[in-house]
Symmetry: C2
Subunit: 354 residues, 2 copies
């Protein structure tokens, strides 16, 4: 019997509700297999910070490092000053665990309400760099609060950091039928970082002759995401551009309530962390109103990362089936009104049948 030793960080707001459904589906897909899940819950987030002033202690971090992987719901609450939990907890985990790949698949399920008139066939993967760029926390403030204040933010980009994520993106593109990689930057303005990215993409591209490569400025990429999202297969970009583009991508495919992500350390030196890309949505927390699909889709990425590809495909198929049932119900004018738990139950039931 293999035991997956999973750290679970439910977090704030709707985090605990969606994580419960992710775990429900994870257990369902492993039933009858020779694989078990052992979970350890970590009470990180707003409540802990209010109680103790701690975001993520060295002890927490050491303990989390012992696990095989992490499932996270969402962190953040309006009662906590902006930046405290983001930088002290979420980004601290991504950086400390060297999650240099932030993997964000985007898929349009037919029938799902989308703001686009003609969404077409949307199925692409964003490979967002996770440990560099403007997210480093580099920069500072001089003469704070005076009329002479200067505030800086430094984007740090290294050959080491760019190459490893670009290589990962080429691997992903090479394994997909269309074999197309779009890299996104703003190298006409950010010439230092931009040219490093460009040279790196060109160099690595020589090793993947079958992958076709194109480039878009980030501003142009926001245009194509609404006018022609079907053109994208794999997209690779830096930390900030990836943050921006994946929220837009989530919006066109029917909302960030469906969008999954994996913060991955491909070298497996540290545990990787899987989380929906949505936030903690405090306004609907505790009401069983959140859609747990994004978390369940993050479990698909978790299963793939753990080498449980067959199980990943079963959960993926169950999500497809649930989305199709939603579309059918909506088409008949009777859209589902299900609780968070009911959606999880439905997907788990399909998984069990499958």
């Amino acid at each position: 019997t293999r035991t997956i030793d999973l750290a679970v960080i439910p977090g704030d707001g709707i985090g605990p509700e969606v994580v419960a459904e992710g775990l429900k589906v994870l257990e369902a897909v492993l039933e009858g297999n020779d694989v078990q899940v052992a979970t350890t819950q970590y009470d990180l987030g707003a409540a802990r910070w209010h109680r103790t002033g701690e975001t993520l202690t060295d002890e927490d971090l050491e303990s989390i490092k012992q696990h095989e992987a992490i499932l996270l719901g969402a962190v953040g609450d309006p009662s906590v000053p902006s930046g405290v939990l983001e930088r002290g907890l979420l980004l601290k985990l991504r950086f400390a665990l060297d999650h240099y790949v932030n993997l964000r698949p985007n898929k349009y399920y037919p029938g799902v309400p989308t703001p686009l008139a003609n969404p077409g066939d949307i199925d692409f993967l964003v490979v967002r760099e996770g440990t560099e760029g403007l997210y480093c926390g580099n920069g500072g403030v001089v003469r704070e609060g005076t009329p002479h204040e200067i505030a800086t933010e430094v984007s740090v980009n290294t050959a080491y950091g760019v190459e490893r994520v670009v290589r990962y993106a080429f691997e992903k593109a090479n394994a997909r039928p269309r074999k197309k990689l779009t890299y996104v930057h703003k190298h006409n303005v950010l010439v230092n970082a931009g040219h490093l990215w460009r040279r790196t993409v060109e160099a690595v591209s020589a090793e993947y002759p079958e992958v076709s490569v194109d480039y878009l400025h980030v501003d142009a990429a926001t245009i194509f995401l609404v006018t022609d999202p079907g053109r994208f297969d794999v997209m690779v970009t830096d930390n900030l551009f990836g943050d921006i583009l994946t929220d837009e991508a989530g919006a066109i495919t029917g909302g960030v309530g469906l969008a999954a992500s994996g913060n991955i350390n491909p070298d497996r030196v540290y545990p990787s962390m899987f989380e929906p890309i949505h936030g903690s949505a405090p306004d609907i927390a505790g009401k069983q109103l959140a859609d747990p699909i994004a978390t369940i889709a993050s479990v698909v990425l978790l299963l793939d990362h753990l080498g449980l590809g067959a199980e990943a495909r079963r959960v993926e198929a169950a999500i497809d089936q649930d989305m199709a049932a939603r579309a059918a119900a909506a088409a008949e004018g009777a859209p589902f009104a299900r609780s968070t738990g009911e959606v999880g139950d439905a997907v788990a039931a399909i998984v069990r049948q499958g």
Copy 2:
């Protein structure tokens, strides 16, 4: 007789074609008025760079500074290395002429093809900061071309620079019926710059009690631009976020071919510069295929800046009428196929009748 002394930079690609139509409409609206236009053409852009290696000499700059305003088409060509014309010409002008406001109105004209299923009523103004942030050209490269390369980009933000653009945005919001200002940043990650922006907005907001203020993270703003663009009235943000969001905004209102901009020095120390937000589109250059509306709409901003409000409104009304005629033709299944020059002629003719 008042003479407007206008510097004209047609630039590259479709630049000369669209600028010709902007000037045509400008002359039409001033006919019979006691106002004339004197234009001086500057041959800046790719051709000049290929010929002389120059982008913008001190002499060019001194000469341009003597004019009352600038009309620019587009600069950039694939034959010129990325960044050379952007940083050596376009951004050099914006910075040297202290264009701290980059004003970008967005309006949806009913009937215009848009990727959105329900565009609704879109009419907002983006006030993009133009002289700070990541556009400063601050940063550098260490160990270039080696596996140990480090490339940095520094976003520089000052109380002085943020306050003046925020104040301008409040003025604009206060003068509009909805009186709503949305400021956009990413203060949960970019805490130094973000908190400077936040404190500044809060401080200036006390002087404009009638303006309601809200905040969005830049990633969330990309979502609302597609799911609920009608919520925006005036948006204020930094240089890079403004670049990204205005391209997305252009896409949802029917393409950057319609989107105007003004690079404005509100203190009138230096001439302001008006340009369509689209690029030089070398693929369609010289074919009279470009839509000159974005340039004509930039002329509206130019007229307003010169205090010729009545003339601005006449051109604006003519654009509205041309867009309505397009929509009507498209609705009848016979969309216009007009050359760049024919569109300019049509708008100029409406202006003359008006």
